[in-house]
């Protein structure tokens, strides 16, 4: 699976552009500006921090990894490698919390 490959060494990374997570999955989540997240399907609630909230918003827009990372690099002070790793990790957490 795409997510399990390291983005820096994955040759197909530059050619293969797919959403990080099923958009329908994130669409159903209610997200407040303060980072409170509610899943109406499971009834569970979650908190995300500022950067988590930003990633969630990008995912809701259906962004793929390279474009999400680029958007975040423009907005935040941080290395592209760190941000890319964190986005991948965060997407993994979301998939675990909100199984399709």
């Amino acid at each position: 699976m795409f997510y399990n490959r390291h983005p820096m060494t994955n040759e197909s990374n530059t050619t293969r552009r797919e959403p990080l997570i099923d958009a329908k999955l994130v669409q159903r989540l209610a997200v407040s500006d303060s980072g409170f997240v509610f899943d109406p399907v499971s009834g569970h609630s979650f908190s995300v921090n500022e950067t988590g909230l930003r990633i969630l918003r990008l995912l809701k827009e259906g962004q793929d990894l390279p474009s999400a990372v680029k958007a975040l690099c423009d907005e935040f002070l941080g290395s592209a490698a760190d941000i890319e790793r964190d986005v991948l990790e965060f997407a993994g957490l979301l998939r675990k919390q909100f199984p399709a």
Binding site: I55, K70, D74
Partner: protein, 463 residues
């Protein structure tokens, strides 16, 4: 490039996602994210790491002195004759022992190595309690000659002491180590002579029959991290009953009752979910249990003009544990397949041996932003067992962030292993806030100093 202006951009922090669990007791030992500490005894953590490297053990001289004084006062205020002995095995760094001795402590040792260490520091033989099941002849001869208090563990040792006493024409005063069931703690029956079976009285008779030996002391150590003070009441009662019986039957006169160590420190034992402040008795409570029982049991002696015995204490853990911390730095973060965050730090169970049975207090040393989530803290060893905290709530940590583990003063600087990694500096914060190294970090030279390479192995090229 889209943007070169960085001035007004927020700094990227690790994204976090935390599930809300309502109505559940937090089983992870929560670290509220606001709880952080950037100094130890008024010395900035950043300066310590900068000057002495990471990981780093840091000992507080002031705290250690205060703890010894507090212990001796708690007992001396309740019983007229008390002598405290520093239990070397708990932490035998010279600086630690020296501070205890300056505060009036004798030395409690359990091996030739520890005996020599105490003597080397300048402790005279008559202020050394020599415990332990293994005292080779040479060190026994020296200890007897120097007037140390010999605590006998078994009959073969008794035999050896008798032989030395006869051969050197000396009269040797000895102490018998006793074991018995307190009804509260797991009996440590492998040490000393058993009271209930009559073995201890047999040993007292054995001593009485020797013209060169004199039984003057009784010792027992009922266990370690004993959280129930009733165990000490039972211990003192049993020891005093045995004292009366042995004196009456064999004609000896007991001058010392040594209750060993075992008081719990303010550390969280694994499997105990209440915080230590709620379950660990205070030193005053231990003192009360021991001294009340001893005063009551020796009341009659005073009336009859027989002196009350000297109360000897060998407290280790409860005196030194909270006088030392371990600073360790984050070397990496990863996500485990089950979703938990894992953080790798540069100190493992090689240094913090007590991580096997404590949930140490872990504090960040700067204010962390971000939501706390369940984290596993791993040490640097390539071993599965190298877990510093199996589960703790921590906000995201960056590489280089320093964590403070406490309390770590007991049994780490003695039971640590030179395994895979070098052992780091141990520093002492003096009373006047000066900091000095009391055990230098190891290097290749230090670790390999005892090795000898046979000549034919010097060339490692394949032949």
């Amino acid at each position: 490039m889209t943007d070169n202006t960085t001035a007004d951009k927020p700094v990227w922090i690790k994204p976090t996602l935390r599930a809300h669990r309502s109505g559940l007791l937090n089983k992870f030992g929560a670290v509220p994210s606001r709880q952080w500490q950037d100094e130890f005894e008024d010395v900035p953590v950043a300066d310590l790491i900068h000057q002495f490297g990471s990981p780093l053990f840091v000992i507080s001289e002031q705290r250690l002195r205060k703890n010894v004084r507090h212990l001796t006062r708690a007992f001396s205020a309740r019983y007229p004759r008390v002598q405290y002995s520093w239990s070397y095995k708990t932490n035998y760094l010279n600086a630690v022992c020296a501070i205890a001795h300056q505060e009036g402590a004798w030395a409690e040792v359990v091996s030739a190595f520890e005996y020599e260490k105490a003597r080397n520091l300048g402790v005279p033989g008559e202020k050394i309690l020599f415990n332990g099941p293994h005292k080779p002849r040479a060190i026994l001869e020296r200890a007897i000659k120097e007037g140390a208090h010999i605590h006998v563990d078994h009959l073969d040792e008794l035999q050896l002491i008798d032989e030395i006493a006869r051969a050197t024409a000396q009269n040797v005063e000895i102490t018998l180590r006793l074991n018995f069931d307190t009804g509260v703690t797991e009996p440590w029956s492998r040490f000393g002579f058993n009271v209930e079976s009559g073995q201890a009285l047999d040993a007292a008779w054995r001593v009485a029959h020797s013209p060169n030996l004199k039984l003057t002391g009784l010792h027992s150590h009922i266990g370690t991290f004993v959280m129930d003070t009733r165990a000490y009441r039972a211990q003192v009662k049993t020891m005093c009953q045995f004292m009366e019986r042995a004196e009456k039957d064999t004609g000896c006169q007991i001058d010392c009752i040594d209750v060993g160590g075992g008081f719990a420190s303010r550390n969280a034992l694994q499997g105990v979910y209440l915080p230590p402040e709620q379950v660990v008795p205070s030193i005053d409570q231990y003192a009360e249990a021991i001294c009340d029982t001893l005063l009551e049991a020796t009341h009659g002696r005073e009336r009859e003009g027989r002196p009350r015995p000297l109360l000897l204490l060998e407290t280790g853990r409860a005196v030194v544990d909270d006088a030392e911390i371990l600073l360790t730095s984050v070397v990496g973060n990863k996500r485990l397949p089950d979703g938990r965050r894992a953080t790798i730090v540069d100190a493992g169970v090689n240094l913090l041996f007590t991580a096997f049975w404590y949930h140490h207090n872990v504090k960040p040393t700067r204010e962390l932003s971000g939501v706390a989530e369940e984290t596993v803290l791993y040490g640097p060893l390539c071993m599965n067992i190298d877990v510093m905290r199996a589960s703790i709530l921590l906000p995201p940590l960056d590489v280089g962030d320093v964590l403070m583990f406490s309390p770590v003063g007991a049994y780490n600087n003695t039971q640590w292993l030179q395994f895979i990694e070098y052992r780091p500096n141990v520093v002492l914060v003096h009373d006047d806030r000066q900091v000095s190294i009391v055990r230098a970090a190891e290097d290749l030279q230090a670790v390999t100093a005892q090795e000898r390479l046979p000549d034919h192995l010097r060339d490692v090229s394949p032949r």
